[in-house]
């Protein structure tokens, strides 16, 4: 289930089911984001869980899902820095520290998580045939190649791709709605 503006209103009012919806939709991406720096899934999950706890305590200030995401990514980033500070062997995290302190690479990681989250969600929601085509297209194959590999016509590839784009569009639409709200 995706997060609606209605959920955010409920969340602000302290509805924990709305909080669960937000948790479910962002938990995985945030964990993998954290894991990039720590390479330790268990520690990453702890940090993300803490971040959601902080979010709950600040819920009344949240204005939109973009606001919530920004908040979470920032809290998680600080969580990682804190974690590294308390490690005895800092050497292991030298690169992570650099990445975290550099604003550009921090943003790169967010972009990566966001894009991959939606691509994966799209892929998982596709019927089997569509999925195969999507995977091949993601590997950089053009329509002709895909048609040959799967032994189907180029036109079939095209129509199946349309279905995929429609799904993808729905998910992108979510982001754009949120951005529109933000720019109002």
């Amino acid at each position: 289930m995706e997060v609606s503006t209605f959920d955010i209103e409920c969340f602000k009012q302290g509805e924990h089911l709305a909080f669960k919806t937000i948790f479910d939709s962002l938990y995985h991406s945030l964990c993998l984001f954290t894991n990039r720096f720590l390479d330790d899934l268990a520690a990453s999950e702890d940090i993300v869980q803490e971040a959601f706890c902080t979010l709950w305590n600040h819920r009344e200030e949240m204005e939109s899902i973009v606001h919530i995401k920004s908040f979470l990514y920032t809290v998680v980033r600080n969580g990682v820095l804190n974690y590294i500070k308390h490690q005895k062997i800092r050497l292991r995290y030298e690169q992570s520290l650099c990445d975290l302190e550099d604003k550009a690479s921090f943003e790169y990681f967010i972009i990566e998580e966001e894009v991959e989250r939606i691509l994966l969600k799209t892929r998982e929601s596709l019927p089997p045939k569509c999925k195969e085509i999507f995977v091949l297209a993601m590997q950089g194959k053009d329509n002709q190649e895909i048609a040959r590999i799967l032994n189907i016509s180029v036109n079939t590839v095209k129509t199946q791709k349309k279905i995929t784009y429609k799904k993808l569009k729905n998910y992108i639409y979510e982001i754009s709605c949120l951005l529109l709200l933000l720019h109002k």
Binding site: Q49, V66, L120
Partner: protein, 391 residues
């Protein structure tokens, strides 16, 4: 830059470009960003993203465990019911005091020349009537045990917002006469039948049932919405008859929504299996758990689809749960529970869709306020009428 808006904007542009749907201005925006070598590298990585690796990592996570710990950490358990009731009582008392004060003040100095009376709209509560075959009407507001004149071996125990039928053997033939449990708008009630089957009745619902079932079949008649947990008895099928169709079961959990004004009867199955039979053509449909049958009363069509049954059961847990539901349907449910009329000034807004999960015991103004924030809709509440208009 407000918050971290930038990375989300870029994510959106990348996805749109992978989809091939970039508009000219967006293309330029993305190109500017791609002018930097490192950015282009990221773009290439993403357009060939290794999603399998990602999925494998996803599967190693334990969101449920984290959520449980989070719940414990924040200690947000549902407020016990009595506390909520105390809150309502306190609110009513306060209103009472305020009212008296205003009245007193008004009488003293006549500052308020016109008395504006705003009716407070309260959520529904447990209430029901038992209508006997003799058309006698019994209000079930007080706890008591009683029996109907014809047969004293059948006891009716009304306690804790539940009416329980208990039959001692042998029951008289007369006990097979049908009685009606009527739950008015703004009400809900529970019923436990003689065979142990439990039924939750939603607002504005009538259920006709016998005190004792006949020897072959257990038949009840429904108009409105009810959730059934049917006691298993393979010898005696349980049948719910509604307008135009019936649901046949042996022992299962399911919800039936069959309001007179609605164009369709919706049956949602939680567990077990049920068979739905149309009256006219005797066509049937078999439901599996988490499937729903939408029967259209107009053309007799039956459509089966997969759903999350919990969404349709929100009401028995004291919630309104909507998933991409039209405003028309949402307000219809509100009108039954809060006992209000709804008037659309702009008919097109009736089709707007919303998702949400809210407490049924909240004030209607709170719920309407949430919807108002989401769309350009405004609600005016006058007496017991909600007027919906476009901003």
């Amino acid at each position: 830059m407000k918050y971290l808006e930038h990375p989300f904007r870029i994510s959106q542009l990348i996805l749109k470009s992978l989809e091939g749907q970039l508009e000219e201005a967006e293309r330029r925006e993305l190109d500017d960003w791609l002018a930097i070598e490192a950015n282009r590298k990221l773009y290439i990585t993403l357009s060939q993203a290794n999603l399998d690796k990602k999925k494998a990592l996803f599967e190693q996570l334990h969101p449920e465990r984290s959520w449980k710990r989070l719940e414990k950490q924040l200690a947000f358990k549902r407020q016990p019911r009595f506390l909520r009731i105390v809150r309502y009582v306190a609110a009513v008392l306060l209103l009472g005091i305020a009212g008296t004060t205003v009245y007193w003040y008004q009488n003293r100095s006549e500052i308020f020349s016109s008395s504006i009376q705003q009716t407070e709209i309260e959520p529904g509560s447990a209430k029901a009537f038992l209508i006997l075959a003799s058309e006698e009407k019994i209000n079930l507001e007080s706890d008591r045990i009683f029996s109907l004149q014809q047969d004293s071996s059948v006891k009716l125990d009304n306690k804790g917002n539940t009416l329980r039928i208990e039959s001692g053997s042998p029951a008289l033939q007369a006990s097979q006469e049908y009685q009606t449990l009527f739950v008015p708008t703004g009400g809900e009630y529970k019923l436990v039948l003689e065979d142990g089957s439990q039924i939750c009745l939603n607002s504005d619902t009538k259920l006709r049932f016998p005190l004792v079932f006949s020897s072959e079949k257990r038949v009840v008649y429904l108009e409105g919405e009810a959730y059934f947990e049917v006691a298993p008895d393979s010898q005696k099928p349980f049948v719910v008859v509604t307008q135009g169709m019936e649901v046949n079961v042996l022992g299962t959990k399911f919800n039936v929504k069959a309001y007179q004004g609605d164009r369709s009867v919706i049956t949602t199955l939680v567990s077990g299996s049920v068979r739905i039979k149309e009256d006219k053509s005797s066509r049937t449909a078999l439901l599996r758990p988490n499937e729903q049958c939408v029967y259209s009363a107009d053309d007799g069509r039956m459509q089966v689809r997969s759903v999350d049954s919990q969404v349709f059961l929100g009401w028995i847990y004291g919630r309104f749960i909507f998933e991409n539901e039209t405003l028309e349907e949402i307000l219809k449910q509100f009108s039954r529970w809060y006992d209000v009329e709804v008037l659309f000034q702009n008919p097109e807004v009736a089709g707007y869709r919303f998702s949400g999960n809210v407490d049924r015991f909240d004030q209607i103004s709170t719920l309407l306020g949430m919807i108002e924030k989401t769309y350009d809709i405004s609600f005016t509440v006058r007496d017991r009428t909600v007027i919906v208009s476009k901003k």
